[in-house]
Symmetry: C2
Subunit: 141 residues, 2 copies
Amino acid sequence: MNNSGGYKTKQREAILNYMLEHKNSHVTVNKISDYFSEQGTPVGVTTIYRHLEKLLEQGLVRKYTVDSTTCACFQYASQEEECHEHFHLKCDKCGKLIHLECSHLDQLIKHVYSGHGFEIDPFRTVFYGRCKECINGQDKK
Amino acid sequence: MNNSGGYKTKQREAILNYMLEHKNSHVTVNKISDYFSEQGTPVGVTTIYRHLEKLLEQGLVRKYTVDSTTCACFQYASQEEECHEHFHLKCDKCGKLIHLECSHLDQLIKHVYSGHGFEIDPFRTVFYGRCKECINGQDKK
DNA sequence: TTGCGTGCAAAGGTTTTGCATGGCA
DNA sequence: TGCCATGCAAAACCTTTGCACGCAA
């Protein structure tokens, strides 16, 4: 069964494959577009945007924003990984994006839910701050 | 003493006043611009951007991103409020932005710092998820 | 007078939309 | 054949930059 409701095209398959192969990293429309161009099979950005939007509606990818001036990031949302609560840490200084899996965060989510009535979606949430390296190598930039 | 190093102009004062009066809410460049237009004293967006950037460098305002397609949000960072760790919760569904002050979050910050070597900046961090009202009124949209 | 502040206009980048063509079923 | 998918071009949007003029000191 084709859960997209649409036709099966080369581009659709290529984009979904790309997302699956990069399920452990976050990608942008530009990265996808560049990748396909380098492979010799360019795909229009319009098409990428439209497919990502569909995948978003189907819950197959997640979208999150790291900075208002940079482009949006997408990541494949695999069902198996859904179990660990998985946050992102983004360093203001070096721009590194760190994946964080930690049981303390489960408690946080439970507390915010029971104490504040808010259900946090860990995947889409990005913590901003400073990473170890940047705190230590604190040469005044 | 003028801690900006620059001249004192009507626009500078107006923008700073606006930020002070709205210290409990988050504003965008558009909102500020519209407000001044309605007041009959329009200020160019360029000027607003430039002043906010300066205030950002001085640490008088904070900037954070709620969505990649919407404009950036700014909020006045008053010294007195700096003491409570202050996060934002943003509801995916109704778009509401909730301010959260909670001692559990202090622990979280301490844990991530000592356990993972990452120093979280609470002000800039936005949690995404669903608010109470939207969880309850869960009519399938 | 000097030099920063201002704001118009234009450029930059990301994302969306219109439309004619192409490809799947 | 019918209809969706594609991608070019153009628009919309937020933000930044260039430049000439205005205003604070």
